[in-house]
């Protein structure tokens, strides 16, 4: 599969009176790693969930993955691997049953990417009910699920939260190799060091609008700061926050 392109046109979303996204126009380039950053409640998770079809946009919004409009037909999600912020699985199922369920739902049993399963040494934990696994182990399982079907679009919401440094290192290394294997990566993170390490492209979301769009290098050059963390603070100051 070739890496996916995501196109957003005038994407709006409101929850009641709260306007979470105020007309986002964007294009996520294929085969690159794009980081979605911004303060809490900026709309990052909502934007991700819109792409996944978990949240319905306001009428007039356009969301396309590889030219297929996201409008209720679920088949485009065959291309997507998703790692949510908190891994929460049915507590009485074992990891193996969970993976079986997902491979069954995807109808894809061949050519699975089980690299993370091996590198996280999860084999021994797979036959235990999920509720007996530690939070970190569940998060590892979560990462395995995201990569398993070799998606052309990988969406990672705070991927390393809850992982120990070794596991986080393994995951980051895997993410960095994804573009070479034909996968577009869209990730959110609050760790600027992680963003600098992983991403080439950056979207800075502030109050439901994109306050910066470009490469990380461009942002650093523009702000004259050596570190992303300071550059971000500058952006926030400029926005009057």
């Amino acid at each position: 599969m070739t890496a996916s392109r995501v196109v957003l046109g005038q994407v709006r979303k409101r929850f009641g009176r709260l306007e979470v996204l105020r007309g986002i126009d964007d294009s996520i380039a294929p085969g690159r790693i794009t980081a979605l950053v911004g303060p809490n409640a900026a709309g990052k998770t909502t934007l991700i969930k819109l792409i996944l079809g978990l949240v319905h946009p306001e009428p007039g919004s356009l969301i396309e993955v590889d030219g297929i409009a996201v409008n209720g037909d679920p088949s485009y999600r065959r291309r997507i691997g998703y790692m949510p912020q908190a891994a929460c699985f049915p507590e009485h199922l074992t990891g193996r049953e969970l993976l079986q369920l997902l491979t069954g739902l995807r109808g894809q049993r061949e050519g699975l990417d089980e690299e993370l399963l091996q590198r996280f040494r999860l084999a021994a934990s797979l036959d235990r009910p999920v509720r007996t696994l530690s939070g970190g182990t569940r998060q590892k399982l979560n990462a395995v699920v995201a990569f398993l079907f070799r998606p052309s679009l990988l969406i990672l919401d705070e991927p390393t939260a809850g992982l120990d440094p070794v596991a986080a290192g393994i995951l980051k290394e895997k993410v960095l190799r994804a573009p070479g294997e034909g996968t577009t990566v869209l990730l959110t993170s609050h760790l600027m060091s992680e963003v600098e390490e992983l991403a080439q492209d950056l979207r800075f979301l502030l109050d439901g609008s994109i306050a910066f769009r470009g490469t990380i290098a461009a942002l650093l050059a523009e702000s004259g700061e050596p570190r992303l963390e300071r550059a971000m603070a500058r952006l926030l100051e400029a926005a009057g926050r």
Binding site: F15, K49, L52, G53, L54, V55, H56, G72, P74, S75, Y76, R77, R78, I80, Y82, P84, A86, A87, C88, F89, P90, E91, H92, L93, E97, L98, L101, L102, G104, L105, R106, P129, V145
Partner: protein, 263 residues
């Protein structure tokens, strides 16, 4: 359809391993045994059992269902991020709740009932009727549970609403009927009461069962009307149909909300 089946199979495993389902089945088993041993002859024990079924089944179905769907929220999100349509996932969720709940009921109540096997004629028919009505009530109140859990995102609100549904159907509704009969006692009420009873699944199940036990005299002067209405195949058939409708309407409403929901 295959998505529904796969989700259902996984749900079934998950729910069936839950300690709550086991506790529910054991509770019913214990109650049934107790009533059969100490509740008098087969017919009378069945009557007491009927009251347990009418009170306990709706409560457990609606509360367990609501809490389960709320707990599964993140997992539902993960499943919806797969190439899975919302409609089939919803049906899988419903089936995955109904089957274990109905299974626990059928085993917990059905096994001791059938083992006891009273010699009276019609005992078996009454047992089957009781089990059938229990399964229908489980369907109805699981559908209510899904409806409530999908609509109300807040856990406490959802649980409160679930309890209100149960309270309304089990107690408040009867109070209203009683009020109506005392207030308008001077008028011929058989028709309106029949309609009122047809609108509450718990009442429907109760009348359906009581009449089959040949104790319609207990229902007072309107009993004769119900007897005439329900005793024929048409009346009972209509009652079963109405119970199915009581499940279908909240199920469809919940599906509609589920399709439009923002997760």
């Amino acid at each position: 359809m295959s998505v529904t089946r796969k989700v259902l199979a996984a749900q079934l495993r998950n729910v069936a391993r839950s300690r709550w389902i086991l506790a529910y089945g054991l509770l019913l088993l214990g109650l049934t045994e107790l009533l059969l041993r100490f509740g008098g002859s087969g017919e009378r024990a069945l009557l007491s059992l009927l009251n347990v079924v009418l009170l306990l089944l709706p409560l457990v179905s609606v509360v367990f269902g609501t809490l389960y769907v709320h707990n599964a929220r993140e997992f539902i999100e993960l499943l919806l991020a797969q190439p899975v349509s919302r409609g089939s996932l919803y049906l899988g969720l419903f089936g995955g709740l109904v089957l274990p709940l109905a299974g626990a009921f059928l085993l917990g109540v059905g096994v001791p009932l059938l083992l006891q096997g009273g010699g009276e004629p019609g005992y078996l028919r009454h047992c089957v009727l009781l089990l059938g009505a229990g399964v229908l009530l489980t369907l109805v109140f699981t559908a209510f549970a899904l409806c409530v859990a999908v609509r109300l995102a807040d856990r406490a609100w959802a649980l409160g609403a679930a309890l209100l549904v149960w309270l309304g159907c089990s107690l408040v509704y009867d109070g209203v009927i009683l009020l109506v009969t005392t207030l308008f006692g001077a008028y011929p009420l058989e028709g309106p009461l029949l309609v009122l009873i047809f609108l509450n699944p718990v009442d429907l199940a109760r009348v359906l069962l009581l009449l089959s036990f040949d104790i319609s005299a207990l229902l007072g002067y309107t009993g004769a009307v119900y007897e005439r209405f329900f005793h024929g195949g048409v009346g009972s058939g209509l009652a079963v149909l109405m119970l199915l409708l009581c499940a279908a309407v909240p199920l469809a409403l919940g599906a509609r909300w589920f399709r439009r929901k923002d997760f």
